[in-house]
């Protein structure tokens, strides 16, 4: 099983790599073929479900970085299973749907490939049992969702939405990384399953803040909610997937996963409940403001996420059970409704709720799917949404602060119900209207998903016990930290408070729908300032600041760059030596042969000529003479390889410098004003003195001979080479060399780009 579990997360990536080819080969069928991957995952997970439902778990690990105690560890418990099944199950139909939705699109293969990668990242995220792996998959979901949201990259709005999503969720990702490292420091291991509650630890507030930042940005909690509606720029199947089982649910998953570690404190409950409740009401109100179907649904997702965060924050047995129930119910109805909205858009050419109408006859199956989903969203019995709603009301006793939360929850659910009514009724009932396209029923691939999601939501009505024991309770137990025994049953009891809370929800929801247009008009008046615009202001400020900093440091005056670089080199070499007392004593005059003195004199003559030369070309040649003298010194003191290379480098330097000079059309002579001469000369002298001092200091110290002894001793027996320098380069230190030649090539490309750029400007 262990390999199979890893495959759930990794296979989609392999499939993604193959997808463009498959698409080219199979064309219209590629959506169906892509869907086989999540389908297989779903079947696999379904088979292990009984074992997991009994409280067991499945583990699997691949080696990753064994030296650092890192493995790609996967663990399937109740919580992971519920999320993974939702990701795979909904993903299957989303891919089938995408195949048709994007039929004929130039980049359909690429799209399916992105979708599969996204799916793999999500599966990896919910299956990871290692903090680092969790972080990596978390970031992968951000990156792949960036690709999906900005899929229609020719439109500036889509690009902005993609960047916005990446920036906001990316901040959360960094917070998660920091939280993961802190947790490892506290617990001593990377394993998520082994984490214990750290509620009393001094670092607890910091870890809590970081995890909440990660979860809130990802799950679009107020005040980070603004990226989610903009993400609607993605093609509809992406929205359906992002909003139902994936992406935004990653934050909910994170909170549920870490609630045994971080939960149960006043800070946890207070923060989650307050932010959740605000987000719930905010999302509900904003949904009523919209007229675009997708925008309405997007805002309700924000509300539902708020609801989930709130329930996890309350954290009692009932509340966590309700959260898991609601997660499944929401995933099903939200995916279905988005797909319905996409089908409407695809077949009629508009998503505007004030334009659509009277489609019940021309798009009957779509209408049925919409009804099934909306009933669950409103929470009418006996559909799944009803169970979720009842559980969450039951989770809060009506006294103290919990009564306030209860009221907020009823109001929020009512607003969601109002939106559900609008989405179900407006496009389909009423008189037929003129539409951009002549409406007709959507193709089977686009109906399959919404209808099946709707039907699945009805299953608990017939088998509440089975559903509860296999999906909800294992997940809730994992999130709660202890086994939960609780019986899910369908009950309608007019004497209980729950019944009247439900009634209140429906009545307020009905009222909201009845006065929808009036409410929208009122809400639209408040449209002055938004966090979305605030984001633009911040981004603009960032760009302005970085431009200012760049202008300050990157002024474009080459001689100043050189002065700064070399001055810093001198400072870096001499200051630490002076401060730390490592200045070497002046060495005595060495005892050299006369020809060795001759070579030294040659080098000095070369340098002297460079300084006094009136002609640039002459100076370049003189520099070469000095370099060759150095090469001779290497030769005389037993470094033939170094000498050899130095010779070639000097020759090529002279050639290339001469070519550059003739290219730049410089004056033949080099005359500079005295102050420049003094400055450059001063810097050159300082550098020379500093480096000489540094070298003497190095030579005066003790060299650790172990490495050179090892290389000398092992060059022949281990690497079959007598030239130790070469053996080090190509064998002992091969990885370094590989890096170096990559740098050589990259530098070459950069130089060529500069040459060609200059040429283009020239002509």
């Amino acid at each position: 099983m262990d390999i199979a579990l890893a495959l759930c997360a990794l296979a989609p990536f392999v499939a993604a790599a193959l997808m463009p080819v498959i698409h080219r080969a199979f064309g219209n069928l590629s959506g169906w073929i892509a869907a086989l991957v999540p389908l297989a995952t779903f079947v696999l997970l379904w088979q292990v479900m009984p074992a997991v439902a009994d409280g067991g778990e499945v583990r699997g690990a691949l080696d990753w970085g064994p030296l650092h105690d890192l493995s790609l560890a996967f663990r399937l418990d109740g919580l992971s299973l519920t999320f993974a099944l939702a990701i795979a199950g909904i993903g299957t139909f989303i891919l089938v749907y995408s195949g048709n939705y994007l039929a004929g699109h130039v980049h359909k293969g690429r799209f399916l490939s992105f979708m599969l990668m996204f799916m793999g990242a999500m599966q990896g995220l919910v299956l990871s049992d290692n903090l680092v792996a969790l972080y990596v998959f978390w970031e992968l979901t951000s990156v792949t969702s960036f690709l999906l949201i900005g899929f229609d990259a020719s439109r500036v709005i889509a690009r902005r939405a993609a960047v916005q999503a990446l920036v906001v969720t990316g901040i959360g990702g960094l917070a998660l990384l920091a939280a993961g490292i802190l947790l490892q420091r506290i617990s001593g291991g990377w394993e998520i399953g082994a984490l214990q509650s750290i509620a009393g630890h001094t670092a607890y507030p910091l870890v809590l803040a970081l995890v909440l930042l990660a979860a809130f940005t990802k799950s679009a909690q107020f005040p980070f909610h603004f990226w989610l509606p903009n993400a609607m720029e993605a093609p509809t199947p992406v929205s359906a997937y992002l909003h139902s089982a994936t992406m935004v649910q990653a934050g909910v998953y994170l909170l549920a996963r870490f609630s045994p570690v971080l939960g149960g404190t006043a800070a946890w409950t207070g923060l989650l409940v307050v932010f959740g409740a605000v987000t719930l009401l905010w999302g509900g109100l904003m949904a009523l403001k919209q007229t675009d179907l997708k925008q309405m649904l997007a805002q309700t997702t924000i509300a539902s996420l708020g609801l989930l965060v709130l329930l996890i924050g309350v954290g009692t047995e009932l509340a966590v059970t309700a959260a898991m129930l609601y997660f499944v119910a929401h995933a099903l109805y939200k995916a279905a409704l988005f797909l319905v909205a996409g089908a409407l858009d695809h077949e009629t050419g508009t998503r505007d709720i004030t334009v659509l109408g009277g489609l019940r006859d021309s798009m009957t199956v779509t209408f049925i799917a919409a009804i099934l989903a909306a009933v669950s969203m409103i929470g009418l019995p006996p559909i799944l949404g009803y169970f979720a709603k009842e559980e969450m009301y039951a989770a809060l006793p009506p006294d103290g602060w919990q009564a306030v939360v209860l009221v907020a929850m009823v109001l929020g659910n009512a607003l969601l119900g109002g939106v559900a009514l609008a989405v179900m009724i407006r496009p389909f009932l009423g008189g037929t209207r003129p539409l951009p396209k002549k409406p007709h029923e959507a193709p089977i691939a686009m109906l399959l998903g919404p209808v099946i999601f709707g039907a699945v939501a009805a299953v608990p009505a017939f088998a509440p016990e089975w559903f509860g024991e296999h999906f909800v309770l294992p997940a809730a137990s994992a999130a709660y930290g202890h086994a939960i025994h609780h019986h899910l049953e369908l009950r309608i009891d007019a004497s209980s408070l729950l019944f009247w809370l439900s009634m209140a929800t429906w009545v307020i929801g009905g009222l909201a729908y009845w006065r929808l247009d009036a409410i929208r008009t009122v809400l639209r008046r408040t449209e002055r300032w938004s966090l979305d615009r605030g984001f633009d202001v911040v981004m603009f400020g960032l760009i302005r600041t970085s431009a200012a900093v760049t202008r300050l440091l990157h002024h474009g005056r080459l001689e100043l760059y050189l002065v700064v670089v070399f001055a810093m080199l001198a400072v870096a070499a001499i200051v630490p030596l002076t401060l730390l007392g490592g200045l070497p004593r002046l060495p005595s005059v060495p005892n050299l042969h006369f020809y060795e003195w001759g070579v030294v004199a040659l080098a000095l003559i070369g340098v002297g000529t460079v300084v006094v030369a009136r002609n640039r070309l002459f100076a370049v040649l003189a520099l070469g003479i000095q370099g060759l003298a150095v090469a001779l010194i290497y030769m005389l003191f037993g470094a033939p390889d170094l000498s050899f290379t130095q010779f070639m480098v000097e020759v090529l330097s002279v050639v290339i410098l001469a070519l550059v000079m003739s290219r730049l059309n410089l004056d033949a002579g080099d005359t500079r004003p005295f102050e420049d001469f003094a400055r450059d000369g001063g810097v050159a002298l300082a550098c020379g003195i500093a480096l000489t001092t540094l070298l003497f200091a190095v030579l005066g110290g003790q060299l650790d001979p172990r490495l050179s002894e090892f290389f000398n001793a092992n060059s022949v027996p281990m690497a079959h080479g007598h030239n130790v320098v070469n053996v080090i380069l190509v064998d002992f230190r091969g990885l370094d060399t590989l890096g170096e030649i990559s740098v050589v090539m990259t530098a070459g490309i950069a130089v060529l780009a500069l040459i060609r750029g200059a040429k283009r400007r020239h002509t």
């Binding site: 080479g721 380069l729 090539m745």
Partner: protein, 135 residues
């Protein structure tokens, strides 16, 4: 630069230098030399040819863009490192064998990769600058 004598001698010189560069590269494992220095010699040969016959003609005689040599060199060096993986040895572990009595090894292939990278990059830069000279 393009005197008659230079233009006549250059191709001969270049041929000798190129052969010498290969010699230097291959003997590098036991005596002074190696891919880096060999690549530099070959690149100087190309620079000389560029001065004598012009950058365009030199490019043509190279058959491929100099940078492709460099890219191929990096790929070849990486490939030489990958050869050890099927034997369950870490990346870049040296492997040795004999082909028709001659010692052949992955470090040698690696060194040829280094040779091609240095040769390609420096040639590309030199020819790029010589191009400019022409216009």
């Amino acid at each position: 630069m393009s005197t008659l004598i230079f233009r006549t001698i250059a191709p001969l010189l270049v041929a000798v230098m190129l052969v010498f560069s290969v010699f230097i590269t291959l003997r590098g494992h036991n005596e002074p030399g190696g891919g880096f220095i060999g690549g530099l010699i070959a690149a100087s040969a190309i620079a000389i040819l560029g001065m004598a016959t012009g950058a365009t003609a030199t490019r043509k005689s190279l058959r491929a863009d100099p940078l492709s040599f460099a890219g191929f060199g990096v790929a070849l060096a990486a490939f030489a490192g990958l050869l050890s993986l099927p034997f369950e040895l870490p990346f870049l572990t040296g492997l040795w064998t004999q082909v028709f009595g001659a010692d052949v090894s992955t470090p040698m292939i690696f060194d040829i990769g280094v040779y091609l990278t240095v040769f390609g990059t420096i040639s590309a830069v030199a020819l790029g600058l010589e191009d400019e000279e022409a216009d």
